[in-house]
Amino acid sequence: MRRSAVLLAAASLALAGAVAGRGAAPAGVSDAVVTGEAMPRFLSDYGFFADAAAQEPAAGVVPYRLNTPLYSDGADKLRFVYVPAGARAKAQGEELIDLPVGSALIKTFAFTENGKRRLVETRVLLHRAGGWVALPYLWNAEQTEAVLAVAGARVPITTPQDEAISYRVPNKNQCKECHGLNGAVIPIGPKARNLSRDWLARMVAAGHLDAVPAGADRLPMWEDHRKVAVADAARAYLDVNCAHCHRPGATASNSGLDLRWEQNDAQAIGIGKRPVAAGRGAGGHLFDIVPGKPGESILVHRMASSEPGVAMPEIGKATIDREGLAVVERWIRELPAS
């Protein structure tokens, strides 16, 4: 039974490949491409953008931001959500908004070099009948098109901190390393707690969302991290940067470390918790978090490293997020030693 499903899928993939040539950009989003079985070769096949080079979205594709974003070597991130006409996303409290089949999340990573914005990659998450599919697209040098890169790529980049790095475009499997939960691919970003109430209200007004979720807009705006309670800034940072893996059912579940915003158990978030499989990542320290002592906390040690095998997160960045690190260090320093 499963075999025949696979064969059918393969057949339809071949068909779709045959018809999805690289013709004129479709007018608006192609729902058939979003929900089809194929892995479209070009970003333009979806029709998400009216002007892709300018990152100007097509009708129905809505830009958004997160209050506290994931650090990606300082890349500018342009985020968009698409909900197909006639369908509506559902509020689910402070958690992910429930996007219907046919929806897509689009995120472009860009760096400004010599005063010019350079698009590097666009990642798409497509909600298809069989679940979410994550695909990475790599922009060409001419900035006219992005091409599917299932195996990812490495791109030389100069970060806003002026560090010359080999920037890693994730491969399709690495997408799942972060987006996987209990074996399925799911979105990470658009949790109501990390989205502004105003934006959510506009989504409701536009008919894309059923209601402004209770529990919306709880995470602080990252640019305000010096003004808000350090615990809020740090826990928001850990939720957004770490908890997609460090939670039950996800890639780092076996560590027993659970860094989700809603986790209140001290040991689960690392306080006084011994490492399990940290290896040399432990850096000679005994606990993930030692209250009052960021310098003795494994969490800080791993955030402050750029060395593979030590550095956390393991994928998605090559440089150290000094700002995020400083917030987490300050939080740990101020934690009462109980």
Binding site: M1, R2, R3, S4, V6, L7, A10, V150, A151, G152, A153, R154, S166, R168, N171, K172, N173, Q174, K176, E177, G180, G183, P248, T251, S253, N254, G256, Q267, G272, K273, R274, P275, V276, A277, A278, G279, R280, G281, A282, G283, G284, H285, L286, F287, I298, E307, P308, G309, E314, I315, A318
Partner: protein
């Protein structure tokens, strides 16, 4: 009705023939080509790695079920991660039914091969080597299946791991067999796992040969039902080089078999010789813990007949000189910390000698030990626990 049944049967029977083989050769662009093959493979496909050295600069991953990755031999096909720039392991497997065979990994920056939530996996004739030998900067685990049901590790070789060469964690239905683990901190470690068979392996020059552990505060706990038999556990005498902070950093140099906080473990028919601290050590979890679900004590551990040579001749223990003097030059092969709760911690076969630290409470410092000769009951006449990987995994070895 009949027609659709026939059509379905045809589809099903035709399916194995449809499985494709993808050849990947070493050389320019190996990273991209191999990763693409791993992503584009269909369930049931085989990826064949040519002989040669694949220079890789990133971790690899496989997320397609029932795929075989086959090299030309563990000395012929080498995935060289010396230049690895990213990822926490060399190769990550997240799909079920995968077979990995006949290739090697060298110098991964983190772990070697990690398979997580990957049921029914076979590692056959896989080698993972950190070529500079023992070094705290080496990756933690060589072969690292975790959170999986159905694990067969057969004919593998791991050396240089700064934690455990072959580490099976939070899993069940496990066989580790015919493998050589040398110069790791722990040779083979079965942690927070059940129904494991560890047999016919050669563990030498590790800090500790074979470790059976259960640790608190993990998603899966309650390790037990383990048989350790017919292994050569010889001359495990490398100084502990684990980075501090890890549980294995506490393993004393020269521990043959170490059983900590497990239920129902049988150790028999092994050759255990030349391990300077102890042949077999049976202990409670030594540290403080807050997890109410956790049982820190060893329970129903049986040390049957083993071929014990000279162990415990240079124990890494406080008061070693007095101990050696008291026991006549070397310690008896079995060391128990004396701790138990709710039942019998340890039984030994007739003729097996040992000693106890005489501790009386969990977490008590070893400095407070009151050593005494071992006096524990004989094994009961009980059937050995049913353990090991499903037979279907063994059947794959012949393919």
């Amino acid at each position: 009705m009949v027609r659709t049944a026939i059509a379905a049967a045809l589809l099903l029977s035709a399916a194995p023939l449809a499985a494709a083989t993808h050849d990947v050769a070493a050389g320019e662009g190996a990273q991209q080509r191999l990763q693409e093959a791993l992503i584009m493979a269909a369930p049931g496909d085989e990826i064949v790695l040519g002989a040669g050295r694949f220079a890789l600069d990133d971790g690899l991953s496989l997320d397609v079920a029932n795929v075989t990755v086959r090299g030309a031999g563990m000395e012929q096909t080498v995935l060289d991660f010396t230049g690895q720039q990213g990822a926490g392991e060399g190769l990550l497997i997240t799909s079920d039914g995968v077979t990995l065979r006949d290739f090697a990994l060298e110098n991964p920056k983190g772990d070697g091969i990690k398979s997580k939530g990957a049921d029914d996996i076979v590692y056959h004739r896989i080698r993972v080597t950190w070529t500079r030998g023992p070094d705290a900067g080496n990756g933690a685990y060589g072969i690292y299946p975790v959170e999986s049901t159905g694990v067969l590790v057969e004919g593998c070789q791991v050396s240089g791991a700064s934690d455990a060469g072959i580490y099976v964690g939070q899993s069940r239905a496990i066989t580790v067999r015919n493998s050589i683990v040398e110069a790791n901190v722990a040779g083979i470690e079965i942690e927070n796992s059940r129904d494991a068979l560890v047999e016919n392996n050669f563990a030498t020059r590790n800090t500790g040969g074979i470790l059976i552990f259960d640790l608190p505060s993990l998603p899966v706990m309650g390790g037990g039902n383990v048989i350790v038999r017919r292994n050569l556990v010889v001359a495990n005498d490398t100084a502990n080089f684990a980075p501090p902070g890890n549980i294995v950093a506490g393993v004393r140099r020269g521990t043959g078999v170490l059983i900590m906080a497990n239920d129902t473990v049988l150790v028999e028919d092994n050759v255990i010789d030349g391990n300077p601290t102890a042949g077999v050590m049976v202990v409670a979890y030594p540290q403080a813990f807050e997890d109410a679900r956790y049982n820190p004590f060893p329970r129903n551990v049986v040390v049957g007949a083993n071929d014990f040579g000279r162990n415990g001749y240079a124990p890494q223990l406080d008061g070693a000189a007095q101990l050696l003097a008291a026991f006549g030059g070397s310690l008896p092969p079995v060391l128990w910390d004396g701790l138990s709760a709710g039942g019998t911690a340890l039984r030994v076969a007739e003729g097996v000698t040992g000693w106890t630290l005489g501790l009386t409470r969990q977490g008590q410092p070893v400095a407070e030990a009151r050593p005494a000769p071992l006096a524990v009951p004989r094994p009961e006449d009980r059937a050995a626990p049913a353990v090991g990987a499903p037979a279907t995994l063994d059947a794959r070895l012949a393919l």
